[in-house]
């Protein structure tokens, strides 16, 4: 028990130092713009199909599941607003972040872990190239900026999924549906939900990089780095979400 606690605190200390190094290296030249752009393409653009399918299904299913209950109260007209609010405030950010934890965080963990095991990171270091700057800073920045974009995209696709869901039973015009969606949401719904996605993105990149960069030698550690990155990131996403909701509740 004591050893387990010691290991948790040890890990917490190491990840704090790792984060501290990120902020130190972030502002120092050289700036790896090309690698950052490449990572934005991989993390953002290449995740679009997955996020689109998930977003569409979220909107569709939420509409179909909520409809009977609202119909019992004769409140079907609230359906577009309710679906949009649920998606924007909570479901799209959290589900998209969890999907990205599975795809991106584990991918980064496995990639950097395998680079570490095959001494590619050492090779960069002996060539006087800062591997932290090239591999870690670029990936964390890319996830921090791309996850919010993916979440906004998932919001839009989810709302479209809701439209399809409603039209399975009723015949609702797209403009009317969108008018109802827009009248029910406010900036106060969008801004805190978007701010928290930057934190989701930051931790998806940070934990993936940390697990990969600190992988032990041996191929087994590559698998461990990928798996533990997903587990730790998913847990962190829920904790950040809880804190974000509490803070939003206090301030707004």
């Amino acid at each position: 028990m004591v050893a387990h606690l010691k290991s948790i605190f040890n890990d917490a200390g190491k990840i704090t130092l790792f984060t501290n190094r990120f902020f130190k290296e972030l502002f120092l030249p050289p700036y790896e713009i090309k690698e950052f752009t490449k990572q934005c393409y991989i993390i953002g653009y290449k995740s679009l199909p997955l996020v689109s399918i998930t977003g569409f299904i979220m909107g569709l299913v939420l509409t179909l599941q909520s409809r009977p209950t609202l119909a019992d109260f004769g409140a079907e007209s609230w359906l577009p607003g309710m679906v949009a609010l649920s998606l924007i405030r909570e479901i799209a950010p959290v589900i998209t972040a969890l999907i990205c934890a599975g795809k991106i965080s584990s991918g980064i963990g496995a990639e950097l872990g395998s680079m570490k095991v095959t001494q590619q990171i050492d090779a960069m270091e002996v060539s006087a190239i800062n591997p932290y700057k090239y591999l870690v800073v670029t990936r964390i920045l890319a996830t921090t900026f791309m996850i919010p974009v993916l979440v906004i995209f998932a919001d839009a696709v989810g709302i479209f999924g809701g439209y399809v869901g409603i039209n399975i039973h009723d015949d609702v015009n797209m403009f009317r549906y969108l008018a109802q969606v827009l009248s029910s949401i406010d900036f106060i719904d969008i801004i805190p939900a978007t701010i928290k996605t930057f934190f989701f993105g930051f931790f998806i990149g940070l934990i993936g990089c940390y697990k990969g960069f600190t992988a032990a030698n041996g191929t087994e550690s590559v698998g461990k780095a990928a798996t533990s990155a997903v587990v730790a990131t998913s847990l962190t996403i829920f904790i950040i979400d809880m804190l974000a909701v509490q803070l939003t509740d206090i301030f707004f």
């Binding site: 680079m115 590619q120 090779a123 270091e125 060539s127």
Partner: protein
């Protein structure tokens, strides 16, 4: 320590020039009960090929990793080009690293990059004034010197073991280092390819006038490349001399390397 006659003693080989690497009393432990190096003293003269022999786990690789700062020594001095690396800040250490090439045991090619990109990667960062044309020429010239110009657009996964070693060597050479550290350059290769790599090491050393530390278990490679051989045992250097002199050593343990 067993001292035998050397072909190329660090002092006389360099005609009195100061050694490019001078290691004094190097100690390194991993945990409380695993002391790997217990006071290694080593010098490398300009233009010299020094082969380091020793059993697996005797600390050969750790010694050269300490030289480039991949491992931090617990005790001792590592003087490279006249400066102790423990006194270097990160910028000075990086400047020294550019002058030292390191060939990893598994070549450590960046597997997400093509051969061309592997060579361009360090070059772009350390020779920023090069035009696209000069960059291309430097890459092609280096690949040509290891005889693999035709592999320029291949990915590392498409290369054989011997080709990977050659490309690894080309990536090391592209920055024109003054010292090259080879970590088991012929391990895992067939005897013919091993000989080709050993000959290539020798050719490149003569062409670029580099100094080299070669860690190997391959006695054919040692015979071909070594100006001087040191043998590590129990964390210290226990024998030193030329290949021929060590081969005729009366010490049983030294002899066991040459059987």
């Amino acid at each position: 320590m067993i001292m035998t006659e050397t072909n190329n003693n660090p002092t006389n080989a360099a005609n009195g020039a100061a050694p490019v690497i001078d290691i004094r009393g190097l100690c390194k432990s991993f945990g409380k009960n695993n002391t790997v190096l217990k006071g290694v003293n080593l010098t490398l003269a300009p233009g010299e090929n020094l082969v380091v022999l020793g059993k697996s786990g005797s600390g050969k690789s750790i010694t050269i990793k300490c030289l480039v700062g991949l491992e931090v020594a617990d005790k001792g001095e590592i003087i490279i080009f006249g400066t102790d690396i423990s006194a270097m800040d990160s910028a000075t250490l990086d400047a020294a690293r550019v002058r030292i090439g390191f060939l990893f045991q598994n070549s450590a090619l960046y597997d997400s990059m093509s051969v061309r990109e592997n060579l361009e990667f360090p070059l772009k960062r350390h020779s920023k004034n090069l035009t696209r044309f000069q960059l291309e020429n430097a890459v092609k010239e280096t690949l040509d010197s290891v005889g693999l110009l035709e592999a320029i657009d291949k990915m590392p996964a498409e290369l054989s073991g011997g080709m990977r070693k050659r490309i690894g060597l080309a990536r090391t050479l592209v920055l024109k280092p003054e010292i090259i550290l080879y970590d088991e350059p012929t391990t895992g290769l067939d005897p013919i390819t091993s000989r080709e790599i050993s000959e290539l090491i020798l050719t490149l050393q003569k062409k670029h006038k580099t100094s080299s530390i070669i860690i190997t278990h391959d006695m054919a490679c040692a015979k071909l490349t070594a100006d001087r051989i040191v043998i590590l045992k129990d964390g210290v250097i226990c024998a030193e001399g030329s290949y021929d002199s060590l081969e005729t050593s009366k010490d049983e343990w030294v002899q066991s390397f040459f059987i």
